[in-house]
Protein backbone atom coordinates (compact mmCIF):
# COMPACT_ATOMS: atom_id res chain seq x y z
CA UNK A 1 0.00 0.00 0.00
CA UNK A 2 1.10 3.56 -0.63
CA UNK A 3 1.67 5.87 2.28
CA UNK A 4 0.18 9.22 1.25
CA UNK A 5 0.99 12.51 2.97
CA UNK A 6 -1.94 14.65 4.12
CA UNK A 7 -4.03 16.01 1.27
CA UNK A 8 -3.47 19.70 0.54
CA UNK A 9 -6.11 22.34 1.03
CA UNK A 10 -7.82 23.24 -2.20
CA UNK A 11 -6.81 26.89 -2.09
CA UNK A 12 -3.14 26.01 -1.72
CA UNK A 13 -2.92 24.75 -5.23
CA UNK A 14 -5.58 26.40 -7.34
CA UNK A 15 -4.76 29.76 -8.86
CA UNK A 16 -7.80 32.07 -8.81
CA UNK A 17 -9.31 32.87 -12.19
CA UNK A 18 -8.45 36.52 -11.66
CA UNK A 19 -4.73 35.80 -11.44
CA UNK A 20 -2.78 37.35 -14.32
CA UNK A 21 -1.86 34.14 -16.08
CA UNK A 22 -0.61 35.99 -19.13
CA UNK A 23 0.83 39.46 -19.24
CA UNK A 24 3.06 41.37 -21.64
CA UNK A 25 6.62 40.18 -21.71
CA UNK A 26 8.73 37.35 -23.03
CA UNK A 27 7.00 34.08 -23.83
CA UNK A 28 8.26 30.97 -22.05
CA UNK A 29 9.00 28.37 -24.72
CA UNK A 30 10.07 25.33 -22.68
CA UNK A 31 7.04 23.14 -22.08
CA UNK A 32 5.71 21.24 -19.12
CA UNK A 33 5.15 17.65 -20.23
CA UNK A 34 2.67 15.48 -18.33
CA UNK A 35 2.05 11.87 -19.33
CA UNK A 36 -0.56 9.83 -17.47
CA UNK A 37 -0.68 6.14 -18.37
CA UNK A 38 -3.63 4.07 -17.15
CA UNK A 39 -2.29 0.84 -18.66
CA UNK A 40 1.15 -0.26 -19.85
CA UNK A 41 -0.08 -0.60 -23.44
CA UNK A 42 -3.07 -0.24 -25.68
CA UNK A 43 -3.63 -3.98 -25.53
CA UNK A 44 -3.60 -4.15 -21.76
CA UNK A 45 -6.48 -1.89 -20.80
CA UNK A 46 -7.74 -2.71 -17.33
CA UNK A 47 -10.92 -4.76 -16.94
CA UNK A 48 -13.45 -2.33 -15.62
CA UNK A 49 -16.70 -3.53 -14.04
CA UNK A 50 -19.62 -1.74 -15.66
CA UNK A 51 -20.92 -0.81 -12.23
CA UNK A 52 -17.95 1.52 -11.76
CA UNK A 53 -18.89 3.67 -14.73
CA UNK A 54 -21.11 6.70 -14.45
CA UNK A 55 -24.76 6.51 -15.50
CA UNK A 56 -25.48 6.02 -19.16
CA UNK A 57 -21.90 5.17 -20.01
CA UNK A 58 -22.29 1.56 -18.85
CA UNK A 59 -24.33 0.30 -21.76
CA UNK A 60 -22.21 2.23 -24.20
CA UNK A 61 -19.00 0.86 -22.73
CA UNK A 62 -20.27 -2.67 -23.16
CA UNK A 63 -21.20 -1.98 -26.78
CA UNK A 64 -17.82 -0.49 -27.51
CA UNK A 65 -15.82 -3.45 -26.30
CA UNK A 66 -13.10 -4.04 -28.84
CA UNK A 67 -13.93 -0.93 -30.82
CA UNK A 68 -11.85 2.08 -31.68
CA UNK A 69 -13.52 4.51 -29.32
CA UNK A 70 -12.64 2.81 -26.09
CA UNK A 71 -10.84 3.88 -22.95
CA UNK A 72 -10.01 7.58 -22.76
CA UNK A 73 -11.02 8.08 -26.39
CA UNK A 74 -14.66 7.72 -25.41
CA UNK A 75 -14.36 10.97 -23.44
CA UNK A 76 -16.09 13.74 -25.42
CA UNK A 77 -14.08 16.70 -26.63
CA UNK A 78 -16.05 19.15 -24.43
CA UNK A 79 -14.93 17.27 -21.33
CA UNK A 80 -11.27 17.63 -22.32
CA UNK A 81 -11.95 21.29 -23.10
CA UNK A 82 -13.20 21.83 -19.55
CA UNK A 83 -9.98 20.26 -18.23
CA UNK A 84 -7.96 22.48 -20.58
CA UNK A 85 -9.76 25.57 -19.23
CA UNK A 86 -8.15 24.78 -15.88
CA UNK A 87 -4.77 24.50 -17.59
CA UNK A 88 -5.44 27.77 -19.50
CA UNK A 89 -5.35 26.32 -23.01
CA UNK A 90 -7.90 26.23 -25.83
CA UNK A 91 -8.30 23.64 -28.57
CA UNK A 92 -7.36 24.95 -32.03
CA UNK A 93 -7.94 21.73 -33.96
CA UNK A 94 -8.02 17.95 -33.64
CA UNK A 95 -6.64 15.12 -35.77
CA UNK A 96 -8.20 11.72 -35.15
CA UNK A 97 -5.78 8.89 -35.86
CA UNK A 98 -6.74 5.26 -35.73
CA UNK A 99 -5.47 4.81 -32.17
CA UNK A 100 -4.78 8.35 -31.07
CA UNK A 101 -6.42 11.78 -31.01
CA UNK A 102 -4.06 14.75 -31.39
CA UNK A 103 -5.32 18.11 -30.13
CA UNK A 104 -3.43 21.23 -31.19
CA UNK A 105 -3.75 23.84 -28.46
CA UNK A 106 -3.38 27.57 -28.03
CA UNK A 107 -0.45 29.01 -26.02
Amino acid sequence: TTDFPPAPQHDEIIVPDSAPVTSPGPFEGPEKLLEVWFAPSLNQLPDVPESSLSGGLRARAAREEGEKWKGLRRVPREVWEEMLDIVKCKVLSVVEGEELDAYLLSE
Binding site: L53, V79, E98, Y103
Partner: protein, 344 residues
Protein backbone atom coordinates in the same frame (compact mmCIF):
# COMPACT_ATOMS: atom_id res chain seq x y z
CA UNK B 1 0.79 23.24 -26.84
CA UNK B 2 -0.57 19.77 -27.50
CA UNK B 3 -2.82 17.11 -26.03
CA UNK B 4 -2.66 13.48 -27.17
CA UNK B 5 -5.32 11.00 -26.10
CA UNK B 6 -5.08 7.24 -26.64
CA UNK B 7 -7.34 4.66 -24.95
CA UNK B 8 -4.77 3.99 -22.25
CA UNK B 9 -2.79 7.22 -21.91
CA UNK B 10 -2.91 10.98 -22.11
CA UNK B 11 -0.05 13.35 -22.96
CA UNK B 12 -0.38 17.06 -22.17
CA UNK B 13 2.46 19.32 -23.30
CA UNK B 14 2.00 23.02 -22.61
CA UNK B 15 4.24 26.07 -22.72
CA UNK B 16 4.02 29.70 -21.62
CA UNK B 17 2.51 30.23 -18.17
CA UNK B 18 -0.06 27.46 -18.49
CA UNK B 19 -1.03 25.50 -15.38
CA UNK B 20 -0.30 22.05 -16.73
CA UNK B 21 -0.27 20.18 -13.41
CA UNK B 22 -3.60 21.64 -12.32
CA UNK B 23 -5.16 19.53 -15.06
CA UNK B 24 -3.99 16.33 -13.38
CA UNK B 25 -6.85 16.15 -10.89
CA UNK B 26 -9.43 16.54 -13.62
CA UNK B 27 -7.70 13.97 -15.83
CA UNK B 28 -7.85 11.45 -12.98
CA UNK B 29 -11.50 12.29 -12.32
CA UNK B 30 -12.42 11.97 -15.99
CA UNK B 31 -10.62 8.62 -16.31
CA UNK B 32 -12.55 7.31 -13.32
CA UNK B 33 -15.91 8.60 -14.46
CA UNK B 34 -15.70 7.65 -18.13
CA UNK B 35 -13.46 4.59 -18.08
CA UNK B 36 -13.57 3.28 -14.52
CA UNK B 37 -9.78 3.62 -14.25
CA UNK B 38 -9.02 3.92 -10.55
CA UNK B 39 -5.25 3.37 -10.77
CA UNK B 40 -2.55 5.19 -12.69
CA UNK B 41 -0.10 2.78 -14.33
CA UNK B 42 2.67 5.39 -14.66
CA UNK B 43 2.81 9.15 -14.46
CA UNK B 44 5.69 11.15 -15.96
CA UNK B 45 6.16 14.87 -15.57
CA UNK B 46 9.19 16.55 -17.12
CA UNK B 47 10.43 19.89 -18.32
CA UNK B 48 13.55 21.80 -19.22
CA UNK B 49 14.61 24.62 -16.91
CA UNK B 50 12.52 27.73 -17.60
CA UNK B 51 13.96 30.88 -19.15
CA UNK B 52 11.70 33.00 -16.89
CA UNK B 53 10.80 30.97 -13.79
CA UNK B 54 9.57 34.08 -11.99
CA UNK B 55 6.68 34.35 -14.45
CA UNK B 56 5.22 30.95 -13.63
CA UNK B 57 2.13 30.44 -11.46
CA UNK B 58 0.68 27.90 -9.08
CA UNK B 59 2.81 24.79 -8.55
CA UNK B 60 5.04 25.74 -11.49
CA UNK B 61 6.76 28.54 -9.59
CA UNK B 62 9.46 26.14 -8.45
CA UNK B 63 10.50 22.53 -9.11
CA UNK B 64 10.08 21.76 -5.41
CA UNK B 65 6.48 22.98 -5.57
CA UNK B 66 5.83 20.81 -8.60
CA UNK B 67 7.26 17.78 -6.83
CA UNK B 68 5.22 18.54 -3.69
CA UNK B 69 2.11 18.78 -5.83
CA UNK B 70 2.75 15.41 -7.46
CA UNK B 71 3.74 13.78 -4.17
CA UNK B 72 0.39 14.78 -2.72
CA UNK B 73 -1.30 12.86 -5.53
CA UNK B 74 1.03 9.85 -5.77
CA UNK B 75 2.52 9.64 -2.27
CA UNK B 76 5.71 7.68 -1.97
CA UNK B 77 5.23 6.13 -5.41
CA UNK B 78 6.89 9.15 -7.05
CA UNK B 79 10.55 10.04 -7.50
CA UNK B 80 12.04 13.32 -8.74
CA UNK B 81 15.28 13.75 -10.68
CA UNK B 82 17.37 16.68 -11.86
CA UNK B 83 19.39 15.74 -14.92
CA UNK B 84 22.20 17.80 -16.42
CA UNK B 85 24.08 20.95 -15.35
CA UNK B 86 22.03 23.05 -12.92
CA UNK B 87 23.45 26.34 -14.21
CA UNK B 88 22.69 25.65 -17.87
CA UNK B 89 20.16 23.41 -19.59
CA UNK B 90 19.16 21.00 -16.89
CA UNK B 91 16.14 18.80 -17.30
CA UNK B 92 13.70 17.79 -14.57
CA UNK B 93 11.79 14.55 -14.32
CA UNK B 94 9.21 13.09 -11.97
CA UNK B 95 7.96 9.56 -12.45
CA UNK B 96 5.93 7.10 -10.47
CA UNK B 97 6.31 3.39 -9.88
CA UNK B 98 3.74 1.18 -11.62
CA UNK B 99 0.10 0.92 -10.68
CA UNK B 100 -0.49 3.61 -8.11
CA UNK B 101 -3.84 4.66 -6.74
CA UNK B 102 -3.84 8.46 -6.96
CA UNK B 103 -5.31 10.61 -4.26
CA UNK B 104 -7.22 13.82 -4.94
CA UNK B 105 -7.22 16.62 -2.35
CA UNK B 106 -11.00 17.05 -2.53
CA UNK B 107 -14.11 14.97 -3.12
CA UNK B 108 -13.95 13.90 -6.72
CA UNK B 109 -17.10 14.82 -8.55
CA UNK B 110 -17.32 15.96 -12.15
CA UNK B 111 -19.99 18.54 -12.95
CA UNK B 112 -23.15 16.65 -13.98
CA UNK B 113 -23.24 18.60 -17.22
CA UNK B 114 -20.00 16.93 -18.25
CA UNK B 115 -21.06 13.43 -17.24
CA UNK B 116 -24.27 13.85 -19.22
CA UNK B 117 -22.43 14.86 -22.38
CA UNK B 118 -22.85 12.27 -25.13
CA UNK B 119 -19.63 10.47 -26.11
CA UNK B 120 -18.67 10.86 -29.74
CA UNK B 121 -19.11 7.87 -31.99
CA UNK B 122 -17.35 6.58 -35.04
CA UNK B 123 -17.22 3.41 -37.08
CA UNK B 124 -15.38 0.58 -35.29
CA UNK B 125 -11.86 -0.45 -36.25
CA UNK B 126 -10.05 -3.62 -35.31
CA UNK B 127 -6.87 -3.35 -33.29
CA UNK B 128 -4.27 -6.02 -33.95
CA UNK B 129 -1.34 -6.26 -31.54
CA UNK B 130 2.21 -6.38 -32.83
CA UNK B 131 5.51 -6.14 -31.01
CA UNK B 132 5.23 -3.49 -28.33
CA UNK B 133 7.79 -0.74 -28.51
CA UNK B 134 7.59 2.29 -26.28
CA UNK B 135 10.33 4.76 -27.18
CA UNK B 136 10.15 8.51 -26.83
CA UNK B 137 12.67 10.96 -28.25
CA UNK B 138 12.69 14.58 -27.15
CA UNK B 139 14.95 17.29 -28.57
CA UNK B 140 14.87 20.64 -26.76
CA UNK B 141 16.63 23.39 -28.68
CA UNK B 142 17.42 26.97 -27.67
CA UNK B 143 19.11 30.05 -29.10
CA UNK B 144 18.20 29.36 -32.72
CA UNK B 145 20.15 30.89 -35.59
CA UNK B 146 18.47 34.07 -36.97
CA UNK B 147 18.04 32.37 -40.34
CA UNK B 148 16.18 29.50 -38.70
CA UNK B 149 14.01 31.87 -36.62
CA UNK B 150 12.94 34.07 -39.55
CA UNK B 151 10.29 31.76 -41.10
CA UNK B 152 8.33 31.77 -37.83
CA UNK B 153 7.65 35.53 -37.91
CA UNK B 154 4.66 36.79 -39.85
CA UNK B 155 3.80 40.23 -41.16
CA UNK B 156 0.54 41.90 -40.18
CA UNK B 157 -0.61 41.46 -43.76
CA UNK B 158 0.08 37.73 -43.62
CA UNK B 159 -1.73 37.15 -40.33
CA UNK B 160 -4.72 39.26 -41.33
CA UNK B 161 -5.20 37.48 -44.64
CA UNK B 162 -4.01 33.95 -43.88
CA UNK B 163 -5.62 31.68 -41.27
CA UNK B 164 -3.26 30.18 -38.69
CA UNK B 165 -3.64 26.66 -40.04
CA UNK B 166 -2.70 27.83 -43.53
CA UNK B 167 0.32 29.67 -42.18
CA UNK B 168 1.29 26.50 -40.36
CA UNK B 169 0.99 24.49 -43.55
CA UNK B 170 3.16 26.96 -45.45
CA UNK B 171 5.88 26.82 -42.78
CA UNK B 172 5.71 23.03 -42.56
CA UNK B 173 6.20 22.70 -46.29
CA UNK B 174 8.88 25.38 -46.61
CA UNK B 175 11.04 23.88 -43.86
CA UNK B 176 10.48 20.24 -44.73
CA UNK B 177 8.67 19.45 -41.49
CA UNK B 178 6.05 17.63 -43.57
CA UNK B 179 8.80 15.39 -44.92
CA UNK B 180 10.42 14.30 -41.65
CA UNK B 181 8.48 11.07 -42.13
CA UNK B 182 7.09 9.63 -45.38
CA UNK B 183 4.22 11.84 -46.53
CA UNK B 184 1.93 8.92 -47.27
CA UNK B 185 1.81 7.93 -43.60
CA UNK B 186 1.81 11.44 -42.10
CA UNK B 187 -1.27 13.37 -41.01
CA UNK B 188 0.04 16.81 -40.09
CA UNK B 189 -1.85 19.55 -38.27
CA UNK B 190 0.12 22.77 -37.85
CA UNK B 191 -0.55 26.37 -36.87
CA UNK B 192 1.31 29.67 -37.31
CA UNK B 193 0.66 32.11 -34.47
CA UNK B 194 0.27 35.89 -34.70
CA UNK B 195 2.74 37.62 -34.68
CA UNK B 196 5.15 34.70 -34.38
CA UNK B 197 5.44 31.10 -33.27
CA UNK B 198 4.44 27.71 -34.59
CA UNK B 199 2.97 24.43 -33.36
CA UNK B 200 2.52 21.12 -35.12
CA UNK B 201 1.06 17.73 -34.27
CA UNK B 202 1.52 14.77 -36.58
CA UNK B 203 -0.01 11.33 -36.43
CA UNK B 204 2.19 8.80 -38.21
CA UNK B 205 0.64 5.60 -39.48
CA UNK B 206 -1.88 4.18 -37.09
CA UNK B 207 -0.92 6.51 -34.27
CA UNK B 208 0.43 4.13 -31.64
CA UNK B 209 3.71 2.19 -31.69
CA UNK B 210 2.36 -1.12 -30.44
CA UNK B 211 -0.56 -1.52 -32.78
CA UNK B 212 -0.78 -2.02 -36.50
CA UNK B 213 -3.79 -2.69 -38.65
CA UNK B 214 -1.87 -4.36 -41.44
CA UNK B 215 0.26 -7.36 -40.67
CA UNK B 216 3.90 -6.70 -41.40
CA UNK B 217 3.51 -2.94 -41.26
CA UNK B 218 5.23 -1.07 -38.45
CA UNK B 219 3.34 0.59 -35.65
CA UNK B 220 2.80 4.30 -35.86
CA UNK B 221 3.11 7.13 -33.41
CA UNK B 222 3.12 10.88 -33.18
CA UNK B 223 5.48 13.78 -33.32
CA UNK B 224 4.94 17.27 -32.06
CA UNK B 225 6.85 20.51 -32.59
CA UNK B 226 6.56 23.87 -30.83
CA UNK B 227 8.57 26.95 -31.70
CA UNK B 228 9.03 30.30 -29.93
CA UNK B 229 11.32 32.21 -32.30
CA UNK B 230 11.95 35.48 -30.49
CA UNK B 231 15.56 36.58 -30.18
CA UNK B 232 17.03 36.12 -26.72
CA UNK B 233 14.73 33.28 -25.70
CA UNK B 234 14.17 31.42 -28.96
CA UNK B 235 13.23 27.82 -28.39
CA UNK B 236 12.03 24.82 -30.37
CA UNK B 237 11.02 21.39 -29.16
CA UNK B 238 10.54 18.12 -31.00
CA UNK B 239 9.03 15.01 -29.45
CA UNK B 240 8.37 11.73 -31.20
CA UNK B 241 7.45 8.14 -30.32
CA UNK B 242 7.42 6.66 -33.83
CA UNK B 243 9.28 3.33 -34.15
CA UNK B 244 12.46 3.89 -36.18
CA UNK B 245 14.92 1.62 -37.96
CA UNK B 246 17.72 0.45 -35.71
CA UNK B 247 21.19 0.45 -37.25
CA UNK B 248 22.33 -2.49 -35.19
CA UNK B 249 24.14 -5.49 -36.52
CA UNK B 250 22.74 -7.68 -33.77
CA UNK B 251 19.18 -6.38 -33.63
CA UNK B 252 16.94 -6.96 -36.61
CA UNK B 253 15.26 -3.66 -37.44
CA UNK B 254 11.48 -3.49 -37.67
CA UNK B 255 9.97 -3.02 -41.11
CA UNK B 256 9.88 0.74 -41.25
CA UNK B 257 10.56 1.45 -44.89
CA UNK B 258 11.06 5.10 -45.65
CA UNK B 259 11.44 6.24 -42.08
CA UNK B 260 14.71 7.85 -41.01
CA UNK B 261 17.03 6.25 -38.52
CA UNK B 262 17.16 7.85 -35.10
CA UNK B 263 20.45 9.56 -35.88
CA UNK B 264 19.19 10.90 -39.22
CA UNK B 265 15.96 12.15 -37.65
CA UNK B 266 17.90 14.02 -34.96
CA UNK B 267 20.18 15.59 -37.58
CA UNK B 268 17.23 16.59 -39.78
CA UNK B 269 15.42 18.25 -36.87
CA UNK B 270 18.53 20.07 -35.64
CA UNK B 271 19.19 21.17 -39.23
CA UNK B 272 15.77 22.82 -39.43
CA UNK B 273 15.96 24.74 -36.14
CA UNK B 274 19.74 25.38 -36.00
CA UNK B 275 20.03 25.85 -32.23
CA UNK B 276 23.17 26.93 -30.43
CA UNK B 277 22.30 24.68 -27.52
CA UNK B 278 20.21 21.55 -27.31
CA UNK B 279 19.46 18.62 -25.09
CA UNK B 280 18.32 15.21 -26.30
CA UNK B 281 16.52 12.65 -24.16
CA UNK B 282 15.58 9.15 -25.19
CA UNK B 283 13.25 7.08 -23.05
CA UNK B 284 12.90 3.37 -23.82
CA UNK B 285 10.64 0.93 -22.05
CA UNK B 286 12.74 -2.07 -21.02
CA UNK B 287 10.14 -4.37 -19.50
CA UNK B 288 7.51 -3.95 -22.17
CA UNK B 289 9.75 -4.53 -25.16
CA UNK B 290 10.99 -7.78 -23.74
CA UNK B 291 13.76 -7.96 -26.30
CA UNK B 292 16.68 -6.42 -24.52
CA UNK B 293 16.15 -3.10 -26.29
CA UNK B 294 17.71 -0.56 -24.00
CA UNK B 295 17.93 3.14 -24.64
CA UNK B 296 21.58 2.69 -25.38
CA UNK B 297 21.05 -0.11 -27.88
CA UNK B 298 18.31 1.77 -29.71
CA UNK B 299 20.61 4.74 -29.90
CA UNK B 300 23.50 2.93 -31.40
CA UNK B 301 25.14 0.17 -33.31
CA UNK B 302 25.48 -2.32 -30.51
CA UNK B 303 23.74 -3.62 -27.46
CA UNK B 304 26.86 -3.27 -25.40
CA UNK B 305 26.83 -0.23 -23.24
CA UNK B 306 30.23 1.04 -24.29
CA UNK B 307 29.48 1.02 -28.00
CA UNK B 308 26.05 2.52 -27.39
CA UNK B 309 27.56 5.41 -25.50
CA UNK B 310 29.92 5.92 -28.36
CA UNK B 311 27.11 6.02 -30.90
CA UNK B 312 25.32 8.74 -28.94
CA UNK B 313 28.62 10.45 -29.00
CA UNK B 314 30.34 13.62 -29.97
CA UNK B 315 29.90 12.95 -33.68
CA UNK B 316 26.11 12.56 -33.53
CA UNK B 317 25.62 16.08 -34.87
CA UNK B 318 28.74 16.31 -36.97
CA UNK B 319 31.64 18.65 -36.39
CA UNK B 320 29.60 21.78 -35.66
CA UNK B 321 28.62 20.75 -32.15
CA UNK B 322 30.46 19.73 -29.04
CA UNK B 323 28.84 17.38 -26.57
CA UNK B 324 28.86 18.80 -23.05
CA UNK B 325 27.14 16.05 -21.09
CA UNK B 326 25.94 12.50 -21.53
CA UNK B 327 24.03 10.90 -18.68
CA UNK B 328 22.32 7.54 -18.41
CA UNK B 329 19.62 6.40 -16.01
CA UNK B 330 18.13 2.99 -15.47
CA UNK B 331 14.69 3.40 -13.97
CA UNK B 332 12.26 0.68 -13.02
CA UNK B 333 11.06 -0.39 -16.46
CA UNK B 334 12.72 2.42 -18.42
CA UNK B 335 16.15 3.41 -19.63
CA UNK B 336 16.94 7.07 -20.17
CA UNK B 337 19.84 8.61 -22.04
CA UNK B 338 20.29 12.38 -21.82
CA UNK B 339 22.87 14.46 -23.67
CA UNK B 340 23.58 18.17 -24.10
CA UNK B 341 25.30 19.71 -27.11
CA UNK B 342 26.56 23.21 -27.84
CA UNK B 343 27.50 24.76 -31.14
CA UNK B 344 31.24 25.34 -31.46
Amino acid sequence: SSLFVAPHLLILKTCGTTLNLLGLYRIIEIARAYCGYTNVWRCFYSRKSFFFPERQHGPHRDWRDEVDFLDKVFGTAGAAYTVGPMNRDHWLLYLTSPNTQPRLPYDSKLPSSLIAAPPSSSPPAAILPTKYQDTTLEILMSYMDPKARAPFFHTEEQTSSTPGHELGQIISSKLGIDELFPKDETTLDSFGFDPCGYSANAVIGTGMPEASHVEGKPGGGYFTIHVTPEEGWSYASFECNVPLPITSSSTKPPAVEGRPTLQKLIRNVVGIFQPCRLSITLFVSTTASGSGDSASSVLGASETEARAWQSFGTDLLGGDFVRKDRIGYEFDGYDLVFACFEKK
